[in-house]
Symmetry: C2
Subunit: 499 residues, 2 copies
């Protein structure tokens, strides 16, 4: 881990050079797990967002009203999407924790991990089966089989890694309590599959219990966290057991690896940003017959007919891109991601996944003013929630700023005000647009498009604006009481605290 | 770049710790570009593979013969896919080179990069428009506008970075010839857009010239490389100009950043591995009406009807996963990726992108023996080409092993034989399966499934097999002439050179 080691430092990527002692490691058949984890992150983020596709592809013919049956169908599909997202995110978090224990990999572990991934990618299907046929036990059974298979593979990974301790993270490798660790970790891993075994049993004669048990699997970390917090409140903090200082890496309440949170989020943003172009490439290339018959041979006219789709694509890409940009800026200033921050990030990403839906609705209803108003409002609401959860990550981080934030982003740091402005831009803009549509409902599309165009420009000149504002503040303060050396940093309380 | 700096080294991911001097950098508003580049890689790899979707979704009804018109449609769509893949890969390579010059980013550069990405993601659409309407200039015009927009944004990025030299890579920042660099780099960047401007002009009155010019844009790096090589052969190596030693980072013939080659490949493998589950989640959840009417309420029977699709999914995922595994092992031993290796990698990835198509064909034609044979053969051929190009990367690397490979993977290194076995497994298996289908055409499906099941197990026991073989060889050698200290490495020529 000693930075650039090859003779051409400028050529091998900036900032994140490959780990130094690579070849020495490979001598005993082990490898750093970095690339395998990135690949797993990419797979899991794609799988987490895939269930938005049935939602976006819900077809509503122009004649049909946006009636009860369509609403029910949409609501069901959105529920499937959100549940899938939560389940896959829970699986991803477990995977992250597992590979915080297993520090290096060899070929067997890489292959086992692939098997694990393959099983996880099948979860969304079992889930949509459950929703389509809630009273048939098959969906539940398949889901439980998947979870048990994933658990078995993960337990195998742990047992294998403990059998070859040089694969473990250095702190566990050196620990005297290794056998205890193994027991503890395998126990945590097998908790979910055990619950699922019970759920599978119940599904055969009384399925509601199964759903309850499955919900427990997904929300287990949060439930146990909440229970611990309540207990601490009621009877005071529990006396830590003798070896608890060492059991840190697999504790469900420990912070996630910040790097993997970023990689997972990047995957979600990337697939969401491109979801609409997938549709456009497939559906919006006009048929040559159609062009001849309907548009008298004019390709421009034919493309113009699907113009709203292109607009929707650019709008959706720009919004997702800028939300990624805000996320990127935020995580540059974050040192580690605690569990509440991880949960808020998941919620934000779940709404980001809904963006293509919102934009497609905007284009689908473009002709009828009433539905248009509705879909513009839905779009504003989705953008608002996606961005307000980002903002919530920031405020949560500020609560423990010493631990979680870089010095420059803390209260009074020189980037604090700017970061605040970046994160508050989208919530404000979407709220404003929403409010405007309530007052000027006839111009809702125009308002929405104006927001779409204005926000990117606002981001471009944001630093300038914030600097101007700060310079103004500094100037005022300088007039009030002249201090020597005004060019210092990390001292002046530049802005009031975010509400 | 000084490795882990935070107090909890075991928690922040293994191997690739965030760059050390992060907070100091942020003090002047700059950031390391690592995460932005990963995000761009993810976007571009998704876009590169997206055009396989129209190919996989080509509907062939069971009654219809696999006749000329279908073949022509398929061929056209495959051509679009391959051309899109090459174009996006060329854009990705240019992007990689650009950010080898620009070492750090700030907010403006991040936003400009997003604009660049948005334009690139629109390229596949213009391309499919061109193929659908080859004689209408609109497709060409849109394509050229896109390329020119990308060029303009990239030129803007370069000019901006040279205006704030602390954003440049350290070697260029310190150079005395900075102005020359800028001129040189902007010149290279604007070459493509200039050709496209000409192409756009020609498209209005004589479009074949436009296609020629556009092909030049895509193949420019390879053409100029080949021209340089021919010239060197004919008249001897050109006398290097005085400052040529310094113009290294933007030379089109320089190696690509190995990290970004890996990230781009990971994106392609991840999206390809999950392409089929996207379809399955959307199309293969049976309708509750159908289940009642066609399958007498039996969900199992309904799912059984789409059984081949699930088999195709698992087969495709396993193959893509194992090809990723071979790629991963290969790149662990590679120190840097030269241009021919990059080209071979692109070709391998292009065939990997075709895998879902092959597997879907296998499931679609499951009922008719003739077409089945054909699609099994196509699958074998695609697997063969995807894996043989991986093998070609390895042999190309061996040609300059001192520069490109880690010591343990070179001729005689202890991982050499094992690496060879890993990369040769899939080409051999697919060739064998293909040959078997020629002899035993009636059992083609059985042969194909046997291969699918056998190869993962072969990968699992490969290390064992190679070790046994090596131990046997060593034992024989030891009998021939006893040497002291047989446990040494990097000395014994373990296996004959790969053919």
């Amino acid at each position: 881990m000693s930075g650039p080691r090859t003779p051409e430092p400028a050529l091998d990527g900036q900032g994140a050079s490959p780990p130094g002692s690579q070849d020495e490691d490979m001598a005993d058949g082990t490898q750093h797990s970095h690339r395998m984890l990135s690949f797993s992150d990419a797979l899991l983020s794609i799988i987490a967002t895939v269930m938005i596709l049935p939602v976006t592809h819900t077809e509503i013919s122009p004649e049909q009203e946006f009636d009860k049956s369509v609403q029910k169908l949409l609501a069901t599909r959105i529920a499937v999407y959100l549940m899938t997202f939560l389940i896959v995110t829970a699986a991803w978090a477990a995977h992250t924790r597992l590979f915080q224990v297993v520090g290096k990999i060899d070929d067997t572990l890489a292959l086992l991990n692939l098997a694990c991934m393959m099983t996880i990618t099948f979860l969304p299907f079992t889930f949509s089966l459950m929703v389509a046929f809630p009273e048939v036990p098959l969906g539940i059974l398949l889901f439980c089989v998947c979870v048990m298979a994933v658990g078995a593979v993960q337990a195998l990974i742990v047992v294998y890694a403990f059998h070859f301790p040089h694969l473990l993270s250095p702190q566990i490798e050196r620990s005297a309590h290794r056998a205890l660790y193994r027991q503890h970790i395998v126990g945590i891993i097998l908790r979910g599959p055990a619950l699922c075994l019970a759920a599978a049993g119940f599904s055969l004669f009384f399925y509601p219990v199964s759903y309850l048990l499955m919900a427990t699997v997904v929300f287990l970390p949060y439930v146990s966290k909440a229970a611990g917090w309540c207990r601490a409140r009621l009877v005071g903090p529990r006396e830590p057991p003798a070896r608890s200082l060492e059991i840190f890496t697999f504790d469900l309440h420990e912070p996630l690896s910040k790097e993997r949170v970023e990689a997972f989020s990047d995957g979600v943003y990337a697939i969401v940003a491109t979801l609409l172009i997938l549709d456009i490439c497939e559906d919006n290339v006009p048929d040559s017959k159609d062009v001849k018959e309907k548009f008298r041979g004019s390709l421009v006219a034919a493309l113009g007919a699907s113009g709203p789709h292109f607009l929707a694509y650019f709008g959706s890409f720009a919004t997702v891109g800028l939300l990624w940009f805000a996320h990127h800026s935020l995580f540059l200033h974050i040192r580690k991601a605690t569990q509440p921050m991880g949960l808020l990030n998941t919620l934000s990403l779940a709404f980001v996944g809904g963006l293509p839906l919102a934009y497609q609705q905007t284009s689908a209803f473009a002709r009828r003013p009433h539905d248009e108003l509705e879909s513009v409002r839905v779009s504003c609401a989705i953008i608002f929630f996606a961005s307000i959860f980002q903002f919530a990550i920031w405020t949560t981080a500020l609560l423990q700023e010493g631990e979680t934030l870089q010095p420059s982003a803390r209260f009074g740091g020189r980037e604090h005000a700017f970061m605040f402005a970046k994160l508050v831009l989208y919530p404000c803009a979407s709220l404003l647009a929403f409010a405007c549509t309530c007052v000027l409902s006839r111009f809702s599309t125009a308002i929405f498009h104006a927001m779409q165009i204005a926000v990117p420009f606002a981001f471009l000149v944001l630093r300038l604006l914030v600097r101007l504002a700060l310079a103004g503040l500094r100037g005022l303060r300088g007039l009030a009481r002249p201090v020597p050396g005004a060019a210092d940093d990390a001292q002046s309380p530049l802005l009031p605290a975010p509400c």
